[in-house]
Symmetry: D3
Subunit: 131 residues, 6 copies
C-alpha cells in the first residue's frame, strides 16, 4: 500500500491510519492509486501524520472535533463514514457520536445534522460490534 | 433581560448563558431586543437550554464540538467570539482552542482555519486573564 | 410516535407536522427513534412548534423561505424531499416551487438549483396528485 | 450608467433596478465600472432582467426567496444590504424581514441568522423612514 | 431541443454546448423541459452564451476555473459530471483534471477533493476513450 | 522566520512563498508565531511545498485554480488578498483575475463573485504597479 517505506512521516501516518481505521483508509488509498496516487499520499502524510497524530487534544477529543467539522460542512459519503468508523474503532460509543451531531444543531441546522445521523445509523446497522 | 421569568426552560438557558459567558450573551440579547426579541429567546431556550445544557459530553468536549463546527462553517464575527470567550471562561486553555482549529485543517482547509485563528488571536490580546 | 403527550409545545409541533406532512415527518421520527430520539423531538419542538408554527408570514410564504434556504445551502435528500412534499401538501403548485428555485439562480448558482430541481422532478413523478 | 441603451433586455433590467433600489444598484455598477464592467452588466441583464423581473411569484414573495437564500448562504456585505434595502423599498415591513431570517433558524443555524439580523438592524438604524 | 431558433444569444450558447458536451447538455435540457423549461434556457443563454463563450481566458483555463469552483463548493452529481466530461472532450488530460482537484486541497480540504476525485474516477472508468 | 532551516521540505515551501508573495506570507507567519506557530509551518510545508510547488499545471493555471476555489467558497480576508497578490506578482494581469471571478458566476452566484471582485478592486487601488 505504501511506496515510500523509507519516509518516516509517511510511515507514521500509515501506522496511525492502520491503527484506527485500516478498512476505510486502505480502501481510499486503493481507490485513487491509479488516478491520483498523491491524494492518498497527502492523506497519509498531512491528514494523519502531520495533524491527526498530534496529541495536544486526547484521541477522543480529536474524534469529536473531526465529526463536528464534517457534520457542519455537510460532508457525507466516504469521508464521513471513515470518521464515524474511526471513532467507533477507538471506543467512542454510538451515543457520544450521536450527541456530537446533536450539539451541532444550533450552528449547522437540522438538515446537515440529519444527514450525519443517517450515516451513523447506516453504519451502526452494518457493524455487528455495535448496538 | 428576560421577560419570561416563570418559564423553567428559559430560566435554565439564561442561567447557563450567564454562567459561561454573560458578556457576549447579554450583548446578543440586548442587540436584538427591539428588532427581533424572539431571536434572543430562541438562543436562550434552544441553543442553551435544549442543547448546550445536555451533559452526555463533558463541558470541555462540548466546547470543542462548537468551536470545530463554527470554524468549519467559516463563521466569524459575534458567534465565533462568543464561543471562544465561553471556552476560555470555563477553563479551556488558549493552546487547546488553537489546536481545535489546527485539527480542522484537513477538513475545512487553511482559509477557514486562518479566519478562526485570527479571531482567537484578537480575543487573547484583549483579555488580560490570558497569555 | 410521541412519548411526551403532556407537553403542550410538543403537541403543537406534532399537530403541525401531521397536518402538513405526516409521511415524511413520521418517517424521520421513526428513523432516529433508536439511535437519537431527541433529534426527532427537537425537530418537532423547535423546527415545527417554535418556528414553523409562527404566523407572521403566511403559510405559503414560509414554504418559499424554507425551500429557498434549503436550495441555497445545497441541501438535498430527506430534508429537501420533506419540504417539497409539505409545500405540495398545503397547495403550493409545482410551478411555484420550480420558480422559487429559479429565483435562487443569481445567488446560489446553477449547480445547487439543478440539484433542487432534480428532486422536485423526482417527487412530481412519484405523486399521482401532481402533474 | 448604461452603455447599452439600445438593448431591450438591458433596459428592462436597469428599469427594475432603478425602481426597487437605485442607490445600491447604481453603487454596484459604478464600483466595478473600471475593473470589471461586465459584472455590473450581467447583474442588470441576468439577475434583474432575466430572473428578478419574472412575475410567477409576487414581488413580496420574491423578496422572501432572495433574503432567505442570502441568509442561508451566510452572505453579508453589499449583496445582503442591497436586498434588505430593496425589500424595505417595495414595502416589506422590517418585522417581515426579521421573520424571514427567524424562519431560516432550523435550516441555516443561529450564526448565519445572527449575521443577517445584524445587517438588518444596522440598516434600520440608518434609514429615517423605518422604525 | 431549442424553441428559440431566432435568438442569436440562445443559438450561440447552444452551439457552444453542443460543441463541448452535447450528451450532458442535451440530457439537462430534456430533463427539465416539462417542469422548468426556463432553467435549461438560462443555462444555455447565461452559463454558456454570456459567460462560458468569453475568450479572455483560454478554453483550457476556463475548464480549470470551473472544475476548481465546483470542487471547492462540494458540488457533485450532474453538474460536476458535465464539467469533467467537457474538460475531457476538449482535450484536457485526466491527469490535469486530477491535478486541479489536488491543487484545491489546502483551500477546500480533503473531503470535497475526495468527492470530486471519486466522480472523475467513475467517469474515466466509463469512457472508452480515456485511460 | 523559519525555525527549521535543515528541513528540505520546509525550505522548499519557504522559498516558493518568498518568491511569489513574501509580504503576505511573512505577515501570516508572524501573525501566528506566538499563538499557533504550527499553523504557519503547515502553510509553508503543505500548502506551499507539497501542493503549490507541483508543476503539473503551469504557475498561471495554478493561480486560476486557487482564485476560483477561494471565490467559490466565499473566502475573503487575508487568504484571498494573499492569492490575488500572488497572482499579480507572478504576472497575471488584473483583467485575467477579474475574468476568473466572472467565470465563477454561474456556479458560485453573484454575491460571492462580488465579494471577490471588491477585494481585487481594493488591492488594485493600493498597488502602484497595477492600473
Amino acid at each position: 500500500m505504501s511506496d515510500r517505506p523509507q519516509d518516516p512521516r509517511h510511515q507514521r501516518g500509515l501506522e496511525l491510519m492502520n491503527e484506527i481505521d485500516p478498512a476505510d483508509g486502505g480502501r481510499m488509498l486503493d481507490e485513487f492509486a491509479a488516478i491520483a496516487p498523491d491524494l492518498g499520499r497527502f492523506l497519509v502524510e498531512f491528514a494523519f501524520a502531520d495533524i491527526y497524530s498530534r496529541s495536544v487534544l486526547s484521541l477522543r477529543e480529536r474524534q469529536f472535533v473531526r465529526l463536528a467539522a464534517l457534520a457542519a460542512m455537510g460532508v457525507g459519503g466516504a469521508p464521513m463514514r471513515a470518521n464515524i468508523n474511526s471513532a467507533l474503532n477507538v471506543g467512542v460509543p454510538v451515543s457520544d457520536i450521536a450527541e456530537t451531531f446533536i450539539q451541532c444543531l444550533p450552528y449547522a441546522g437540522f438538515p446537515r445534522v440529519i444527514t450525519a445521523m443517517e450515516q451513523l445509523k447506516a453504519i451502526v446497522e452494518e457493524r455487528p460490534d455495535q448496538d
